[in-house]
């Protein structure tokens, strides 16, 4: 049923429809509304689940780890500092192959302290072994959670659904919330593969010496690579079941004969699409490739899609300090060195710490890369408040 609701509410409603057995989370802006709404749903009895009010994000992750290891379908949500505090457990969950679903209400990382949106937090755990899916709008944010459980439980891999803090979590938009039956038909009950249970005594989280550790990691890596297929499949199944395009590895917009291709992810692609339409009206061919699955990174498919594009600009809300754009370096790595074709790949960092990204900013970016390649530029940087001596 289509509703005009807040993004957090939409996610909470949909997570509840996925019937998690155990929810553990620690409040942190801008994730709070999601867990508040879930707490209410559970206390009203609309969802039969254990809601654990933990003392920290670290404990939240640990509780869902334990619960998942005991065979429960679990859910947690966090952002920013909370994600960093969880970090150790995040790796552990992935290493133990526990199908936990986590919502990251993307937010910047201190210092300086900043509660607004960018992607630095989920980027900080991009190598942990989680599947990371980025939502374009609240509809997709909601839909991705349903898909996340299916992917996670099919592959025994944890899935992180990233949605932009405030911009999506606090925005009221029309979202189609499916009914319980639709979700139940799409998402079968959780059948755990390895749990702690006295009836089948098992050891989980044993320590592996050099004879075994590397193989464990190799298997984990291959599992993530192979998950690309499942992510595509589940998205396709979802389309069939809910006749909506959500998730998948990536989507494109007016890419076919575009001269400039913008690559980005998260909510900003909405504005980019508007801009592309305006350029079109002006007779300019600009296209978009929006990443949904940042991990695994669908290198082959992206290559196939962009191999004949010569002007690509990557816009992202994160940076590897001292190195540059993170998504940008992944895209640059997508293309083999020494290809005949002459290709420019520009990198723009934007919206850090919640800096508004206006259509004018985006227009400036596209027009600039039409003229020249940009190694790295901070979009909308306020040069006037930066003094020489600071640099």
């Amino acid at each position: 049923m289509l509703k005009q609701i807040e993004g957090s509410q939409a996610v909470a409603d949909v997570v509840a429809l996925c019937r998690p057995n155990v929810i553990a989370a620690y409040p942190i802006t801008p994730q709070t509304h999601i867990v508040e709404d879930l707490a209410e749903i559970v206390s009203e009895g609309r969802l039969k689940a254990e809601f654990v009010n933990v003392e920290s994000e670290f404990a939240a992750a640990s509780v869902v780890l334990g619960a998942s290891a005991a065979g429960a379908r679990t859910y947690t949500a966090t952002t920013s500092q909370g994600m960093l505090l969880m970090n150790e457990v995040i790796y552990c969950i992935a290493g133990m192959r526990l199908p936990i679903v986590l919502t990251c209400a993307n937010r910047a990382i201190a210092a300086p302290l900043n509660i607004w949106n960018d992607h630095q937090d989920s980027m900080s755990v991009r190598d942990a072994g989680w599947i990371q899916l980025h939502a374009e709008d609240n509809q997709e944010a909601a839909d991705l959670h349903i898909q996340a459980y299916k992917i996670a439980e099919q592959l025994s891999l944890p899935v992180m659904v990233c949605m932009d803090g405030f911009i999506l979590t606090h925005a009221y938009e029309p979202v189609d919330i499916p009914d319980q039956k639709q979700v139940d038909d799409f998402l079968p009950p959780f059948k755990p593969t390895h749990i702690v249970d006295p009836r089948w005594p098992r050891g989980l989280g044993l320590y592996a010496d050099p004879r075994f550790y590397m193989e464990a990691k190799y298997i984990q890596h291959r599992a993530l690579e192979k998950s690309e297929e499942t992510i595509k499949q589940v998205s396709a199944d979802f389309r069939r079941a809910f006749n909506r395009d959500s998730g998948g590895l990536f989507k494109t917009y007016k890419l076919k004969d575009a001269d400039v291709v913008v690559v980005s992810m998260g909510s900003i692609v909405g504005s980019i699409k508007d801009l592309i339409d305006r350029f079109e009206a002006e007779g300019k061919k600009v296209g978009l490739l929006q990443i949904c699955s940042f991990r695994p990174f669908p290198r082959e498919q992206i290559y196939e899609t962009l191999k004949d594009k010569t002007n690509i600009v990557v816009l992202e809300k994160s940076i590897s300090l001292g190195r540059g754009g993170i998504l940008a370096s992944d895209i640059r790595w997508t293309f083999p060195k020494g290809e005949k074709i002459k290709r420019r790949i520009s990198s723009f960092i934007a919206g850090l710490g919640g800096r508004n990204i206006s259509l004018d900013d985006l227009r400036y970016m596209v027009e600039k890369v039409e003229r020249e390649p940009v190694e790295l530029e901070f979009l909308g940087l306020r040069q006037e408040i930066i003094q020489e001596k600071d640099l």
Binding site: H194, P201, G203, L204, L206, F212, E215
Partner: protein
């Protein structure tokens, strides 16, 4: 559920092949049975720990009797007359008080008698070899007992009309009731031992005949001859040697001891004579030329004598017996003083001139030593007194063995029993032409070896004696039978020195689960595949049953 367990991260714990840590070991624990100090101190080498634990754990008196009579066929007797050196060594002494082993022994012996328990032979088949035993005292009977159990044909020659030797003639009934002795002898003879009484070897049968007819001969002659003081008047009437006196009384002869009785000597015989005379209504005093400390008699006997109001005259030595018409009227004594120790290690008594005085006496009993009656038996002797034997307990005559007082000098019943047993072993060795060290045994456990933390303090069983005024009225035994429950409780105090009593410490204290309970024996055993040799089990074993030894 599916078995898709990610490598290195999840594992089915039902089929794990454990990693063997035994190779980490530099020392290994061993279960080794050790000799408890009680057995070590017992001349008869009784398995004291064995019968005490049996009483304590299974409360099985019959089993206890069989364990005890493996070595000693006279439990009821020794339980009464033995000075119990076993208790001297008991490790409880350093913890609280030693066990009352002696009472337990008597209780077990009495049970055996009441229930007519019978000794079991060690082998069913009879052996053709014959052994002659001379004398049916504790040594002779013990020797006969052990040989008979091994299937040898045994014949005992006894000079007296009834068997028992000094146990019968020397020990008064209030200490050892005659029926108790009789019943124990009876069950020994039941093993098929032939007994011929009123035959004095050397007179009725010459020694060489025995030597000819038998594969071996054992001499358990005892020391039956009381030695006289050889002082003027010692030939008077109413002057007896201790042995004569006791024997006369025990064979029921009527003796008029009159009023005043003086006993000369400080040994067990002296005590017995004094206490018997007391029971015959005499006013008894003991004359001894040294002090109480030097008295060779068993402490208990001296105490009981004192209880029975017998007067002790120390540092007093008879000079002559004053007679009137060859009838004793008194005994002239001189006071002595002890000078530097003599050969016996005791102070040398020296008379104090002019200290003579006469002690009035109607009867004088001289219990100042006994000797062997060698009549008709020509054999090598030690200081012309006691039979000389070699390490194989053989005398100067081939195939002739000896033991008991005749060899040891005046000793205890249990010593004689031990001698008899060892002689039996020696005799078997000589018959089988073998040599074995029957005295060999594992090291002794001392209290320093124990981990006494695990033991609780408990009071020693205290036996009630019949009050003096009643006991003096008759020859009734002065210690009435014990309550078996009390004895079982007392047995529970045994620390089981050197033998596992399944306390579970080794089982529970092994960090490596390397102690298992053997399905076959139910005892603990070490799993050396995993034992790291930390030694916790040995350290926490209360009774020193576990020993750490270097790996090699």
């Amino acid at each position: 559920m599916s078995e898709k367990l990610p490598l290195g991260l999840a594992l089915d714990l039902r089929n794990v092949t454990p990693y063997k840590t035994g190779s980490w070991r530099t020392q290994k624990p061993l279960n080794i049975m050790q000799t408890p100090p009680c057995t070590h101190g017992c001349p008869a080498r009784n398995d004291i720990r064995g019968f005490l634990r049996t009483l304590a754990v299974s409360k099985d008196y019959e089993e206890a009797w069989h364990i005890l009579t493996r070595t000693n066929p006279f439990p009821a007797t020794c339980g009464r007359v033995c000075p119990h050196p076993c208790e001297e060594g008991c490790n409880r002494r350093d913890f609280d008080t030693p066990l009352d082993i002696n009472s337990a022994e008597r209780s077990i012996g009495d049970f055996g008698i009441e229930n007519r328990l019978e000794h079991k032979k060690l082998i069913t088949s009879e052996r053709k070899e014959k052994v002659a035993i001379v004398g049916s005292g504790p040594a002779g009977l013990s020797c006969a007992f052990h040989l008979a159990k091994k299937g040898y044909k045994v014949k005992i020659f006894e000079a007296e009309g009834t068997p028992g030797g000094m146990m019968r003639w020397g020990i008064p009934a209030y200490r050892l009731p005659k029926d108790v002795l009789g019943r124990e002898i009876e069950s020994i003879l039941k093993l098929g031992i032939e007994l011929e009484c009123n035959v004095k070897v050397g007179i009725n049968i010459p020694m060489d005949q025995l030597i000819r007819e038998y594969n071996a001969v054992f001499l358990g002659l005892g020391a039956q001859k009381g030695s006289s003081l050889s002082i003027p008047g010692d030939d008077a009437r109413n002057v007896f040697t201790g042995v004569e006196f006791l024997k006369a009384v025990h064979s029921g002869d009527k003796i008029d001891i009159g009023r005043e009785v003086v006993v000369v000597g400080g040994g067990n015989t002296a005590m017995d004579c004094a206490r018997v005379a007391k029971r015959l209504g005499g006013n008894v005093s003991i004359v001894y030329r040294r002090t109480r400390v030097e008295m060779p008699a068993i402490t208990a006997e001296i105490d009981e004598a004192l209880e029975e109001r017998i007067m002790f005259r120390y540092n007093t030595n008879p000079v002559k017996i004053v007679t009137d018409e060859n009838r004793v009227i008194g005994i002239l004594c001189v006071q002595m003083v002890l000078k530097e120790a003599d050969a016996s290690g005791r102070g040398r008594p020296v008379p104090i001139p002019g200290s003579e005085s006469v002690i009035p006496a109607d009867t004088v009993i001289i219990a100042a030593g006994q000797s062997v009656d060698y009549e008709g038996i020509d054999i090598h002797k030690r200081d012309n007194k006691w039979i000389e034997v070699n390490s194989q307990r053989m005398t100067s005559m081939d195939r002739v063995f000896a033991g008991g007082d005749a060899v040891l000098g005046l000793e205890t019943v249990s010593a004689a029993i031990g001698q008899g047993m060892h002689a039996a072993y020696a005799i078997e060795d000589s018959i089988k032409k073998q040599t074995q060290n029957h005295l060999a045994s594992p090291p002794v456990v001392y209290s320093k070896d124990l981990n006494t933390y695990y033991y609780q303090a408990a009071n020693r069983f205290n036996k009630e004696s019949v009050p003096v005024h009643i006991r003096l009225k008759s020859f009734e035994e002065i210690y009435p039978p014990f309550d078996r429950k009390d004895i079982i409780t007392e047995a529970g105090r045994c620390l089981s020195c050197g033998l596992c009593f399944q306390c579970n410490n080794c089982l529970m204290y092994c960090p490596d689960n390397a102690v298992k309970i053997s399905p076959s024996t139910g005892m603990y055993e070490f799993d050396y595949d995993f034992c790291k040799g930390c030694g916790l089990c040995a350290r926490e074993c209360p009774c020193h049953y576990i020993k750490m030894t270097l790996e090699r």
